[in-house]
């Protein structure tokens, strides 16, 4: 046994004893063989405890064969490459692998949290809802941090993930999920009929449990048949074969997500840049579910001790990895399949103390084989309890008692010495994917489990997933499904035939009683991962949680990352017995995606960092960058926020830019402004419908500010629209609203006013557009050499001109968002940078300075101009912001007109836009600060409005703000209180126009 007591001298189909592999488990160096899993290698090293449980911190070991593993969750890798909560029997061993046990502190063998187990009578099912309720303040500072530390599973990785991930998209005629016997048969039949087939399996190899099951195909071992089929499919041109690939979810119209672990097992590939995981989005015309079945544990006292595992898992360890689960075991079963485990153990030289079968009698082929092998069978008995060593870390024997269904406590029991138990409570078809998209289930009394019923998608279950446990029938079902999935598929001759011995029916056992009452040191675990016991479920019933969905949420049974794979049916069985109902009467809880957890990296794929979101840049972006501009995101745009000079902080540079506009002249890159051309004979009438104010009366060559509402009467956009010709307008929208408003206009044209002849064309990116604003703006323009009249009379406020500035072709609008004399100059985008540079040179002698978006905002706030999204929040009408004058009384109809008349929009007490001047001119209110009717010692206080924009105005040398305040316009001069964390700020209500109320500065 070469110093590894649990590694058998021979056997282990998958391991290569010539290739030693080194790895660490909790820092301890261990060795295994190529072909091992973390579960088999760690067990071979004599380490049984893999982690501590979620709630009681009980020691736990390996239970399952594969993805159903609920106990042995390990963290793999270190630092940024650490991945928590991986199922040890699924993790393939490789050289240098680092595994960590989870949920234990300070160590696996001594865990402080295990005290919870001693306190368990005080933490029954639903205890979260019963305790920690008082005193209230304790929840946030004491209870919650304590629970979060004690509970939970793995830890999140530290740092940014260095690996790459991919998204893939695929279409196929037939997707076969699961490459066991039935799945392979289905794939073979579908590919032979010419279908495009994808077949995937979550394990690294094909065959499912063909190597662990009884029966032959075409008179030869099942594995021979598997190998020829695997070869045939791999060579076929119309089949895509995927291993290490889990189908994690099924959604409408046969949309499936496949999670492929490409290089978790291959660190060298990973180092070469192979993606770590791929997430496949597959559209399949037909889905064939060949996901097999999972073995059920049995609820006996302390059935969670390390060394107690499923019979298939024990068989897998011996047959696949040459690892003994222990020195001497018992098999505890209610069906024939587990007898194969006893035979495997015996063949491998592991002592079997006996097969404890709850069924009476021993008249079956399985029993004959066992007897012939010299294994004792103890019929009509069940395990009543286990004997374990200090802290439950080891197992020394089982107590068995005669089994009578529904009996209370056990009185006469005997003892068998053993150090492991292989248990089997029957098999549940894996119906998770069947249920993800609304498939119905039907209860099968032979299996004592649910199997697929009806489904509205083109999906079919075959083999064990369909409840067909007989080998020959499963094979035939696979072939038939593969043929049926292809349109003209017909049964073909020459199909393989399988043979296996008939099995005795199982006898359900949902609960095996112990000596004494439930909570006297005995726990019958149903949901191992969430630490839910049979007693918890019965308690929930007694407390009135009659619906199984309520019981699930109250006790958290079936809610862990394993989604109830092994616990669901056992829980239903316990509930059925507790209520005297049948399992179908109890119902079943919903299985939800994912089947097994998959990585965040695979969800993100390559869409991270620079690829996360496209960034839009204006033609002037490089200049901004060269000036060391601070950027801010506006929609997908990056706009220059301010341009700090050497030695300036952001506040200083913003104030300098504002004063430059007020006193000299400033230049703003406004290219991001949304621009939409509206053209056609009905353009004017259409604009009358979508704006609150009139546009059909606008003269060619003039601009008008417009307000846009939705049908609810709430503001959604604003901007200046220019009439370029009789049937041709240019609409400006907010920078962030350009796409949304273009789509909005299209929707109304296409769906409501279909008679209008109008084209809507977004042209935002076609133009570079700059604002030249300030008292010297006209002088700068003059210097640029316009070929049109720019005098105050010849180019009035709200007029538009087309022409040339020197050699630069421009459209130029005399509009202002700063309150200063201002020209917005537009030129084709590819000429933008040239014009920008020309304006800067022409303006140099006037002290022109570029200003950013923050200066723009302060300038507009000084003038009381609203910004959609600051002063409006989707519930604000034109009247609320004092723009009633822009709502036409003449037009028969426009979007939102009727809603403005609704009583709740006309009622008193609405919030109205006002200005605020703080008592202390240096005190800048925070954005969103609430005004209260009366200040109290602590909340709640009645709130009467909130700050919508707030800045320090260097022009006025005073803090200014705008706010929406209940009946604000009738409260001018009132002082309001704004309670903040550390103080109360007082501010006086004023008109929202703080500067140049007459508007004389822009009309020069």
């Amino acid at each position: 046994m070469s110093g590894k007591p649990y590694r058998l001298a021979q056997g282990g189909r998958l391991i290569d004893r010539s290739k030693k592999v080194s790895f660490t488990f909790d820092g301890q160096s261990m060795t295994g063989f190529a072909g091992d899993t973390v579960a088999s290698a760690v067990l071979a090293n004599g380490q049984r405890v893999f982690g501590r449980s979620f709630k009681y911190h009980r020691p736990r070991g390996v239970v399952g064969l594969g993805s159903e593993e609920m106990n042995a969750l390990v963290g793999i890798g270190e630092g940024p490459r650490h991945e928590p909560n991986l199922r040890a029997p699924q993790v393939e061993l490789h050289d240098g692998l680092i595994a960590q046990s989870q949920n234990r502190w300070p160590s696996l063998n001594f865990d402080i949290g295990a005290l919870n187990s001693k306190l368990s009578r005080f933490i029954p099912g639903g205890f979260y809802y019963k305790t920690f309720m008082w005193p209230q303040a304790f929840w946030k500072h004491v209870y919650e941090p304590m629970i979060r530390r004690a509970a939970g599973l793995g830890k999140a990785p530290a740092g940014s993930d260095p690996d790459t991930y991919e998204h893939m998209h695929a279409h196929c005629d037939v997707l076969v999920i699961g490459a066991g016997i039935a799945g392979l048969a289905a794939a073979e039949a579908a590919q032979a009929a010419g279908a495009r087939v994808i077949i995937c399996d979550e394990t690294p190899r094909f065959g499912g449990v063909a190597d662990l099951s009884a029966g032959t195909i075409d008179g030869a071992p099942q594995l021979d048949w598997v190998h020829t089929r695997a070869k045939l499919l791999a060579e076929a041109g119309n089949v895509h074969v995927m291993t290490r690939t889990t189908a994690v979810g099924h959604w409408h119209h046969n949309h499936l997500m496949l999670f492929e672990r490409v290089s978790d097992h291959d660190p060298e590939g990973l180092a070469r840049g192979t993606p770590r995981h791929r997430l496949w989005k597959v559209r399949a015309k037909h889905v064939i579910l060949a996901t097999g079945a999972l073995e059920r544990p049995i609820a006996f006292a302390n059935n969670d001790r390390p060394g107690i595992m499923l019979a298939t898992a024990a068989r897998g360890l011996v047959e696949r990895h040459g690892v003994a689960p222990g020195m001497k075991g018992v098999v505890f079963t209610n069906n024939d399949d587990a007898y194969l485990t006893a035979l495997s153990l015996k063949r491998a030289g592991v002592a079997v103390a006996g097969i404890i079968d709850v069924r009476q009698g021993t008249d079956s082929a399985a029993a004959r084989d066992a007897r012939n092998a010299g294994i004792e069978i103890i019929p009509g008995h069940a395990i009543a309890g286990v004997e374990s060593g200090y802290g439950g870390l080891s197992l020394s024997g089982v107590k068995i008692a005669p089994w009578r269904k529904g009996q209370g406590r056990v009185v006469n029991e005997s003892r068998l010495a053993c150090d492991f138990i292989a248990m089997s409570g029957g098999f549940n078809p894996v119906v998770n994917l069947w249920c993800h998209n609304g498939g119905k289930l039907t209860f099968d009394s032979g299996l004592q489990s649910y199997r697929p019923g009806k489904h509205h998608d083109r999906i079919q279950a075959v083999g064990a997933a369909n409840g067909t446990m007989d080998l020959a029938a499963a094979l035939a079902e696979g072939y038939a499904a593969g043929e049926a999935a292809v349109k003209d598929g017909e049964p073909k001759a020459g199909r393989s035939k399988a043979e296996s011995a008939p099995q005795r029916p199982l006898e359900p056992i949902w609960f095996s009683p112990a000596t004494g009452k439930y909570n006297e040191g005995n726990k019958h675990f149903i949901d191992f991962q969430n630490d839910v016991t049979a007693a918890d479920l019965e308690l929930a019933q007694r407390e009135g949680y009659e619906s199984v969905e309520h019981t699930k949420r109250y006790t958290t049974f079936g809610m862990a990352t394993d989604q109830g794979k092994t616990s669901n049916l056992n829980g239903l069985g316990v509930l059925a017995e507790a209520t005297g109902k049948t399992i179908p009467e109890i119902g079943i809880t919903t299985f939800r995606p994912p089947y097994t957890p998959f990585s965040f990296g695979s969800i993100a794929g390559s869409l991270t960092k620079n690829l996360f979101l496209p960034v839009r840049r204006t033609p002037i972006f490089r200049w901004h960058k060269a000036q060391n501009a601070v950027f801010e995101p506006v929609g997908q745009w990056r706009r220059a926020y301010t341009y700090p000079r050497a030695g300036e902080d952001k506040h200083q540079s913003i104030n300098r830019e504002i004063l430059a506009v007020r006193n000299k002249v400033g230049l703003l890159d406004a290219s991001t402004l949304g621009k939409i051309e509206i053209k056609g004979p009905d353009a004017a009438e259409f604009l009358d419908r979508v704006y609150t104010n009139m546009f059909s009366t606008l003269k060619v060559g003039r601009c008008r500010y417009g307000l846009m509402m939705n049908e609810l009467g709430f503001l959604i956009d604003d901007g200046v629209t220019v009439r370029l010709g009789d049937d041709h307008f240019l609409m400006h929208t907010t920078s962030g609203g350009a796409d949304r408003i273009a789509a909005w206009l299209e929707e109304w044209l296409q769906t409501e006013w279909t008679q209008y002849k109008v084209f809507v064309t977004p042209v935002t990116e076609q133009w570079a557009q700059f604002a030249i604003a300030g008292p010297k703006a006209r002088e700068v323009l003059s210097k640029l050499g316009p070929d049109f009249d720019i005098s105050a009379e010849g180019f009035a406020h709200m007029a538009m001109k087309q022409g040339k500035l020197g050699s630069h072709p421009v459209r130029i609008y005399r509009i202002s968002f700063s309150g200063e004399l201002s020209y917005e100059v537009a030129t084709p985008a590819n000429l933008g940078r040239g014009l920008w540079d020309a304006i800067l040179s022409a303006g140099a002698e006037f002290g022109i300075e570029a200003y950013g978006t923050e200066a723009l905002h302060v300038l507009r706030a000084e003038k009381g101009y609203i910004v959609i999204g600051d002063e409006t929040d989707g519930t604000v009408t034109p009247g609320d912001v004092g723009l009633d004058g822009l709502v036409s009384k003449k037009k028969a109809d426009f979007i939102g007109k009727r809603s403005l008349e609704q009583s709740f929009l006309r009622s008193a007490g609405r919030k109205q836009l006002v200005g605020l001047l703080t008592e202390d001119p240096k005190d800048v209110l925070p954005d969103g600060a609430y005004a209260v009717r009366a200040v109290k010692d602590k909340p709640p206080m009645e709130m009467i409005g909130q700050v919508t924009s707030t800045y320090y105005s260097p022009t006025l040398d005073h803090s200014i703000a705008m706010a929406l305040i209940e009946n604000g316009r009738s409260r001018m001069g009132e002082t309001l209180s704004f309670p903040l964390d550390d103080k109360v700020v007082k501010a006086k209500i004023t008109d929202p126009v703080f500067y140049d109320k007459e508007g004389s500065r822009q009309n020069v």
């Binding site: 959604w251 409408h252 119209h253 949309h255 559209r283 509205h456 049908e711 609810l712 789509a743 299209e746 929707e747 296409q750 769906t751 409501e752 006013w753 279909t754 028969a892 109809d893 007109k897 009727r898 809603s899 008349e901 609704q902 009583s903």
Partner: protein, 123 residues
């Protein structure tokens, strides 16, 4: 995730390539004359939507294809699209006959008068 078929340009794609536009065949009362629309009628137009088990008449936009709005009939139980048809068109006759609630009322006079829609394409 649904697969949607655009009857205008023929594109077929995931629902994320399209934009869902809610219940179809809702008449906007204000287009004729807002002053004649009662508060109740306006409320119903703005907020009251149907959620039937079975046929649902709805609007979609071919977002990443032709950009056109169109109509679709979807079975809310099976998620099958029974038909998609143009935004100014009516569904196939048998679907109009199978419609419930306000849709049935909307289609009733159309069924009496009109011939079955020619362009309504079953998918």
């Amino acid at each position: 995730m649904l697969i949607v078929h655009c009857p205008v340009c023929g594109a077929e794609g995931d629902e994320t390539d399209f934009h869902y536009g809610g219940e179809a065949h809702i008449r906007r009362p204000a287009t004729q004359d807002p002053t004649t629309v009662s508060d109740a009628a306006q409320r119903d137009y703005l907020f009251m939507r149907r959620n039937p088990k079975g046929l649902h008449f709805e609007r979609w936009r071919c977002d990443r294809g032709c950009g056109k709005w169109f109509h679709a009939v979807r079975d809310t139980v099976t998620m099958d699209f029974k038909a998609t048809y143009g935004i100014t068109e009516l569904p196939p006759r048998e679907l109009m006959e199978a419609a419930s609630g306000e849709w049935a009322a909307f289609f009733k006079d159309k069924l009496d008068a009109a011939k079955p829609s020619r362009k309504g394409k079953s998918s």
